[in-house]
Amino acid sequence: MIPKYWHVIKIGIQNNVTYRFNFLARALFGLIPLVAMLHLWRTIYADKDPGATVGTYTLAQMISYYLLTTVVDALTAVNEDDWQIAADIRDGQISQFLLKPIDYLTYRLCLFGAGRVSYLSVAAIPLTLFILSLNRYFVLPADWATLGWFLVSVCLTALLQFFISYALAMLAFWVLEVSTFIFIVFAFEYIASGHLFPLDILPTGLQQVLALTPFPYQLYFPISIYMGKITGPALLQGLLIQACWVFVAYGVARWAWSRGIRRYGAVGG
């Protein structure tokens, strides 16, 4: 059971090595808007009194927040998995998985993991150097337990990201072109998960609305654990909600697959 998926991971990593130049380009290009964002906030803080805060954030905390979004993103973001899954369905490639004793979702999950490992192996160097260059602004977690809970939450985030993408890609059973849907959801994810700014600088009403969606658990939540903004019972409660969202996304992904496969026609397969 396990060895065959282990092979999938190994093959996935080998395939990805071919694109290491692409990964490096992506990591380096990705630093440009990050640097721009840091400059923007530094300019804003420069106009305020020394030690002033935005929301509850000092300048160092704000910069750390954006650096952490990049770290969590590198660890959990879905790269091209959703496109590939949709393409597999559209081109009839999934037919072979219906015949083999391989579960397609597990197979894709292994490839997703392989993709993250390969990406990190390339992106870790520029990213670490960048964070070290800003180390006087980078806050460390309060203690080891915080770091541990952060990592647990990051794992859940990765699963949530993957299952949502997988469920979205299932749309390919019904429509020819899924990229628009993926981009629409991505737009909401981008702003509501905290990519553009920490969510707790928003007006309280909006924050409460966002808390009802899975989006904050795709990025903001693990970072707020790291930064010590969520502790104690709230931390456990948050992790529980995050786990629930993972479970829901998993359920939707499985359900969409079983519905989709019923109307699957293996075009050109």
């Binding site: 130049f21 440009i32 530094r42 106009d47 072109e177 628009t180 737009a187 600088i201």
Partner: protein
């Protein structure tokens, strides 16, 4: 595979058309008209998709605006840029980007496919300038709708600023926007030409989206450091939309920024033409 283009890279001459002695410009306008018709037909085949892409762009545009909305909840200005000036800037940046997208973006991103699949052969063999046909083959009509939404946002911001620009300012704005589009096109085309070296250049092409993000930020956010110098004099992203907006909202203290933008647009065009010619010389077609 031996194409005529390999002997004369980049400069496939326009042979005299035997049957009619049309002037060059008229002939190219004719070709471009046919390409437009082709694009309209293509878009209308997938109407729902056409509309969905417009929604996608509107959403992302709205997201950038809401980011600025949130930032200005916590500050009154970025450098000397006030809230509605920045909204105007984002509108202008979106306008420039969308017009660029309407005419060039798809074609630039397709270049790597053309190279990888060897389809470039057919375009090189056509009796027109190769760069022309590669650059303008498809028109993205939805982008015009989005450019219009950007004009709407600029108009609203101008109203909030009580801005009544002179005719000269409007004309200058349009000329500078044009220069900005030339910059975007040249740089993107240059990046796309890298696909002659590495087969999967799409990552690099999409990397350009990251540069768009800088173009819509107020230049004063970047202080006077290396970052600002690089994105002004090497990759002039901080000129593309900041300079036209500064002209309209009367934030220019001297005439140098507009002149610099015009000069940089010419420089980018020249460099990208050089890059294209060097790249074409490496083209060996695929699968044969």
């Amino acid at each position: 595979m031996n194409t005529s283009a390999q002997q004369e890279p980049g400069t496939v001459p326009i042979p005299p058309v035997p049957h009619s002695r049309q002037p060059v410009l008229k002939r190219y306008l004719g070709i471009y008209g046919a390409l437009w018709k082709n694009s309209v037909t293509r878009e209308m085949t997938f109407k729902a998709n056409f509309l969905l892409w417009i929604i996608v762009e509107l959403l992302w545009f709205g997201m950038q605006l809401s980011f600025i909305g949130v930032v200005y909840l916590h500050t009154d200005q970025i450098g000397t840029w006030t809230r509605w000036e920045v909204v105007f800037l984002i509108g202008a940046s979106h306008f420039i980007q969308q017009v660029f997208q309407a005419f060039f973006l798809v074609n630039c991103t397709h270049l790597s496919d053309l190279v990888r699949l060897g389809k470039l052969d057919f375009l090189l063999l056509l009796p027109v300038n190769s760069r022309f046909i590669v650059s303008v083959r498809q028109v993205d009509l939805g982008a015009f709708v989005n450019a219009a939404s950007a004009v709407g946002v600029m108009g609203y911001a101008a109203w909030q600023l009580n801005l009544v620009p002179t005719l000269g300012q409007v004309l200058g704005f349009l000329v500078l926007c044009f220069a900005g589009i030339v910059v975007h096109y040249s740089l993107m085309f240059l990046l796309a030409s890298i696909s002659f070296w590495t087969v999967k250049a799409q990552g690099i092409v999409f990397g350009y989206y990251n540069l768009f993000q800088i173009a819509r930020m107020p230049d004063e956010a970047f202080g006077r450091g290396l970052f600002r110098a690089f994105f002004t004099f090497a990759v002039p992203m901080l000129l593309v939309s900041n300079v036209p907006v500064r002209l309209v909202v009367s934030k220019l203290s001297d005439p140098w920024p507009p002149l610099l933008l015009l000069a940089m647009s010419v420089a980018c065009l020249v460099v990208s033409e050089w890059g294209w010619r060097v790249s074409l010389r490496r083209y060996t077609s695929a699968s044969s």
